[in-house]
Symmetry: C2
Subunit: 202 residues, 2 copies
């Protein structure tokens, strides 16, 4: 069973539900995990080793009705998905505030802006203004390629949407940092963060 | 209507529900807002002025069943509250990772440890190990006094619980920073953070 937000995007975070997964070509390190599950596994890996403290935020839900079928047991019987006002992941890595969103596309040559909400872009601007490190993890699932794409480039291109409705893969290759999936962690994005700071050190 | 987690603590984040609020003596700047609402108002104040980007995390909910009474409208019909694995608030302030939990007591002379979960203490240790700034906002509601109490002191005292089951107010006065409630923001905790860093600068 797959859930959708009112805007039609898939809701992914229901770990104990059977998900109807469309079979897909498994790339290296994939083995049936969704992109989100791979990121969560990577976060757990980093947390367990004391390398970073980065968590996915819970899915925002508007609770309307709660029953108490038993004493001290609350059962939510009416609730609705809300649109998140921030990105999905944040935390701390070596004193640095880290904030990111993960998005996937089946496109092979560009990443469509329709994957991003205006309020997420606003949130990224706010984080950059506070000198946090903000980025998106972009997965080209048909190509089995993943990139860390810094928020400053995303924002700049998003704000010029009248020119084009997507970011060309070649621009992501030039401005982002490719992440090669591995076994543990599946998506070694801290390496990409290190590389970013190496290149952007003053 | 008030909801409770399985452990009996009150669930506060349902803005569009009428909450049965026990009437309480209103201190300065209180005016019927709950402690959580006051913090949220402060976060919004800071966000709107570009001073900090700090959000409350959504309440974690385990979704079991979703119906589609109408096309493109998902209605959650069975879900349960989950225990949070981290603290409730985090974000970025002038490049610094900020992480905190807010707790309230009616006690007048000490703050009981039963307000904290072991996993939250663990999370605070993980944050400190990554050089994030972590603290608790402690509200003595009967005294109308609020403190920023740094996580390093909380963890130290929590780990010695066999000695005593609470933190004495006098220790919180000595080790924490008192926050005087105001109108906007209600709880000016950024000032307390500034003071902490002024005192702890190397």
């Amino acid at each position: 069973m797959s859930f959708r937000y009112p805007n039609g995007t898939l809701y992914h975070s229901v770990p104990n539900l059977k998900k109807k997964q469309t079979p897909k070509k498994s790339g290296f390190g994939k083995r049936g995990m969704s992109f989100e599950e791979e990121i969560n596994q990577s976060n757990e890996y980093y947390l367990a080793r004391g390398l970073a403290v980065i968590h996915k935020k819970p899915t925002p839900v508007q609770i309307v009705k709660v029953d108490y079928p038993q004493r001290s047991m609350a059962k939510i019987t009416e609730a609705y998905f809300k649109t998140a006002s921030t990105t999905d992941y944040n935390g701390v890595y070596q004193g640095k505030y880290i904030d990111f969103e993960a998005k996937e596309t089946k496109n092979k040559t560009s990443f469509p802006f329709k994957n991003f909400h205006a309020h997420q872009i606003t949130h990224m601007e706010q984080v950059l203004a506070q000198n946090g490190f903000c980025f998106v993890l972009l997965s080209f699932s048909s190509l089995s390629r993943i990139f860390l794409y810094p928020a400053e480039y995303l924002i700049h291109r998003y704000r010029k949407q009248e020119e084009r409705k997507s970011i060309k893969l070649v621009d992501i290759e030039n401005e982002g940092i490719e992440i090669i999936p591995a076994i543990s962690p599946r998506i070694p994005y801290l390496q990409a963060i290190d590389e970013y700071f190496k290149n952007h050190e003053k």
